[in-house]
């Protein structure tokens, strides 16, 4: 069976996970292992007047009780946001100081103010309880509306009025004029609910300082260990890079939450140096809810103008985004360049303008969560398209068709240049799979059972393959977003691929070797993937933004090109043939048109014995490459959701969910489908169930799985997933990326289906039974009045 590109190769990594032999960070135990327990602010906003550590210091097993003044006194730097955004007046974003342990002020419930290091977790926790912190409670702001109001309590002296930036994209005046002249204007105020990412493995860190080597090792739950090392070194001054090894072993899901460098890893490293112990910290689920960067949390007012032929003439959006108490690593980019640049959706829109203000609030920091900005854009556009179609009295599919971009490349008015796609093909495929035409019959059948049936669609586009380094640099990114790879061929012909991508569920150990099988005809078992360790892999930017295929694998392809070229040179020399006649297939190196050939392993051995190499050639067969993408990639597709709502209770059941995606080239369809399933589940979770809820004092009410509604198996349907492919012209494999699509495309499809069922467009996420019931009855009341 082929194990090349397009084959459904079963996952190599599964063996260890199904037998319980995966190695996650919390499974690591170092000698001289101690445990960290954090003292966290119970208040959303409070002045720290004093910390009395002495009751804890004398408790059994306690090695140290450390606070923020000691941390900053030791020169540990503040946590930074790595993407500079300038306001429209040209001023830089207002970044408030964030110390890994708060010194003067605690700014959200869960903000760490001290840490206890003890010889057991139970003892560390008991001692953390005994630390006495004298707080002066300050007024808190929870919503962006409160934060930006006149006279609001101020979080950071650096950010007057709690405003971080006031940014815009697109041309305001032409957009306003186009909308003013429009035949019809769809106007909506749309909230994108705050969610908690919830990878099932809580964040964890094990830090070890070796005094004799003056060297640190950090095991951590990271999607990008090299970036973690760079930031820990360059900005937080924990240790120079060559004195710090960061290992991200098996990581139990990320979804964005494990991109950032959090206070806990910094503190564990520092505390390890202070105490000369290995220091382990693993979040409990409550800590995860309090401290893992949340996602979304936008409020937008939007107007979409249509001409008399139902073509969109202008789209204007005013968004306020909540960034929480501090600016996390990529937080500034999410509601700007990852959001507003996608506001053209799949449609040909000449005029777009978007204004974005971001605010500090006394809540958990907000950063990228699966999709990051693109779900917010898609939700806005696709709810408005559906609402507009209903207002205009035309089929929602027809309105979309009328406005689809059909020629590529297509330059939108908001930076992005779409390179390829066939939106009609995805729409057609999804409608066919969903039996769109047969919906009215199904609606009648449901009605006869007393149920309200609805159908809703969403045509999403996203920008992945993050990202061309020079382009993102010009937009404010503090790093380049290329990827690296090294292909090490052993003398016996087996291969190690070292990659800067990181797998935390994506199956890289299976997919990446398929590139080698495809090219050389070697069994994928002969290929080992090495990742997640800064001592082994030289550098890498990690995995997020659906970039491991389009960017990470492109780097591998570049390195394989070099390996192939050298192997052919060696073989030509050994076989006394012309280099141009050498072909490598089925694990053999052949001279085309003859029976002369060598085994792949013979050529590899030849490279290392170096007895008979072309003159001047260096021995060995090992090549590296850095790949910097030339453009973003643009996965797109159409999702159709069908629901049945019980009007008595407001309970929604998804009876069918269809996805038709264009991901470009697919290396392993089994893994790609799995990514779509998981993405849809997260999107459905956001649409129906999930919300991080704060009370007016800033207490997180949804701080456990008792309160935060994670999607369970019986909340979800089976999904119908298929692909309509156009090849991405921007990278050597033609890949667009598949990791986030499900979470981007599904929320509007779900809400459009429910609003279609109940006949009321005024519905916000999460569409809980109570909200749906209220919306049904509001519609009934309106109908009765009319």
């Amino acid at each position: 069976m082929s194990e090349g590109i397009g084959a459904r190769v079963l996952r190599k990594e599964d063996k260890r996970f199904i037998t319980g032999s995966g190695k996650y960070t919390d499974d690591v135990r170092e000698t001289n292992q101690c445990y960290a327990a954090f003292v966290r602010s119970p208040h959303a906003h409070a002045k720290i007047k004093g910390i009395n550590k002495s009751p804890a210091e004398g408790m059994p097993g306690v090695e140290a009780v450390l606070d923020g003044k000691q941390l900053t006194g030791d020169g540990i730097g503040n946590i930074i946001c790595g993407w500079m955004i300038h306001s429209k007046d040209g001023s830089p974003m207002k970044m408030g100081a964030w110390s890994a342990l708060a010194t003067e002020t605690a700014r959200y419930v869960g903000d760490a103010v001290a840490v206890v290091i003890a010889d057991s977790l139970a003892r560390a926790r008991a001692a953390a309880e005994a630390v006495e912190v004298d707080y002066e409670i300050l007024d808190a702001v929870i919503t962006t509306e409160q934060a930006l109001a006149d006279g609001a309590p101020q979080l950071h002296p650096e950010a007057p009025g709690n405003l971080i930036y006031d940014w815009e994209i697109g041309d305001k005046e032409p957009t306003e004029k186009a909308i003013a002249d429009a035949a019809y204007v769809c106007e909506m105020e749309i909230t994108n609910n705050r969610v908690a990412p919830n990878p099932m493995e809580p964040r964890s860190a094990v830090a070890t300082y070796s005094p004799s080597e003056d060297h640190y090792t950090l095991y951590t739950t990271s999607q990008n260990p090299h970036v973690a090392r760079l930031v820990l070194s360059a900005f937080y001054q924990v240790a120079p890079e060559h004195k710090l090894r960061v290992i991200a072993p098996d990581v139990g899901g990320g979804f964005g939450a494990k991109i950032y460098i959090y206070p806990e890893e910094i503190v564990c490293l520092w505390a390890s140096m202070k105490t000369r112990c290995s220091v382990k910290w693993t979040a409990d689920r409550s800590e995860a809810f309090l401290t893992d960067a949340h996602g979304r949390d936008h409020v937008s007012k939007a107007r979409m103008g249509f001409d008399k032929d139902n073509r969109i003439v202008g789209f204007q959006v005013d968004t306020i985004a909540n960034l929480g108490a501090y600016m996390s690593l990529f937080s500034s980019s999410v509601p700007t360049y990852l959001y507003a640049t996608l506001l053209s959706g799949q449609y040909d829109i000449a005029n777009i303008h978007c204004n974005v203000r971001t605010a500090y609030t006394n809540t958990t920091p907000v950063d990228a969560y699966r999709g990051a900005g693109r779900p917010e854009a898609c939700y806005l556009i696709e709810r408005m398209m559906e609402t507009a179609a209903r207002d205009l009295g035309i089929d929602p599919a027809e309105l979309r068709r009328k406005n689809f971009i059909r020629e590529f490349p297509h330059q939108t008015p908001v930076i992005m240049a779409y390179d390829s796609g066939d939106f009609e093909a995805n729409l057609e495929a999804a409608m066919k799979a969903a039996d769109y035409a047969g919906f009215e019959k199904r609606r009648s059948e449901s009605a006869s059972q007393g149920k309200l049936r609805g159908i809703g669609m969403s045509c999403y586009i996203e920008a992945c393959g993050i990202a061309p380094s020079a382009a993102v640099g010009s937009l404010g990114a503090g790093v380049g977003l290329w990827e690296s790879a090294e292909v090490r061929v052993n003398p016996v012909g087996t291969i190690e691929i070292l990659t800067g991508s990181h797998s935390h569920g994506q199956g890289h150990e299976t997919t990446f070797p398929q590139l080698v099988s495809d090219r050389f005809g070697l069994p994928s078992d002969n290929v080992q993937i090495v990742h997640g360790d800064t001592d082994k892999v030289q550098f890498g930017m990690g995995t997020y933004g659906s970039r491991s295929g389009a960017v990470g694998m492109s780097a591998i392809v570049k390195a394989l090109d070099k390996v192939e070229a050298k192997a052919k040179k060696i073989a030509a020399h050994m076989l006394e043939a012309s280099e141009g006649d050498i072909v490598i297939e089925d694990g053999e190196v052949k001279v085309a048109g003859t029976d002369k050939k060598l085994g792949w392993h013979e050529v590899c051995l030849g490279a290392y014995t170096a007895h008979n190499l072309p003159e001047g050639m260096e021995p060995g067969l090992k090549e590296g490459a850095f790949y910097d993408p030339s453009n973003f990639t643009f996965p797109a597709g159409c999702y159709i959701c069908e629901v049945e709502v019980d009007p008595e209770t407001g309970t929604t059941r998804i009876v069918q969910f269809v996805a038709s995606d264009d991901f470009g080239t697919i290396i392993n369809p089994m893994i790609v489908e799995g990514q779509v399933h998981g993405g849809i589940a997260q999107g459905v979770g956001q649409a129906l169930l999930e919300q991080a809820v704060y009370d007016e004092s800033g207490q997180l009410l949804t701080g456990s799985y008792m309160d935060y509604a994670m999607p369970r198996a019986d909340d979800l349907p089976s999904y119908m997933v298929s692909h309509e492919t156009t090849i991405c012209p921007g990278n050597p494999l033609g890949i667009k990326g598949c990791g986030e699509a499900g979470a981007i495309g599904s929320p509007p499809a779900v809400i459009n289906a429910i609003t279609n069922a109940i006949g009321n467009n005024a519905l916000s996420m999460p569409a809980t039974s109570a909200k749906v019931w209220q919306a049904i009855n509001a519609a009934n009341v309106k109908e009765a009045a009319e």
Partner: protein
């Protein structure tokens, strides 16, 4: 302190533990069997499911001392030597896992689920599987392939 003697994966083990020690802590920290995971603190997520005297339990919700004298099977003890349990094979063949963190608990809960339905002669259809998975949370797979895995294994167990 409590004395605990348990048969774990067919092997007699014993130890002195603090009274408050949870079974999952005993398994992970004392026995260093780290395949059993902890994903929450409120017994919702099911990453810690093991079998106690043949029945699935959440090892975060029972004290090690309460397990004294029992027989425990963890994910490490499910395979018969090098021969995987049909549920393990089914999860691999149906791509029923991604990050792998919830997987041990899923597999242990699923084997118990199939056993219970077979013993009582009830049909384990998709609806039943989804309802039965109420106590196991997965964030990666959207459950689609987990349900398929369990259906597949059920036909082979």
């Amino acid at each position: 302190m409590a004395s605990v003697s348990i048969k774990v994966n067919g092997k007699d083990v014993s130890g002195e533990v603090e009274d408050r020690t949870l079974l999952v802590e005993f398994i992970r920290e004392n026995l260093r069997l780290t395949g059993t995971h902890v994903g929450c603190d409120t017994s919702q997520c099911g990453a810690c499911v093991v079998h106690m005297d043949g029945k699935a339990i959440k090892s975060c919700s029972i004290l090690a001392a309460q397990a004294n004298g029992s027989e425990i099977t963890t994910i490490e003890g499910l395979a018969n030597g090098s021969e995987l349990h049909p549920m393990q094979t089914a999860f691999k063949e149906n791509h029923g896992l991604q990050c792998g963190f919830c997987t041990p608990g899923m597999i242990m809960a699923a084997t118990d689920m199939v056993r219970r339905y077979k013993e009582s002669g009830r049909e384990l259809d998709e609806t039943a599987i989804r309802e039965e998975l109420e106590g196991n949370i997965c964030r990666c797979t959207g459950y689609h392939n987990i349900v398929k895995s369990i259906q597949d294994a059920a036909s082979k167990m």
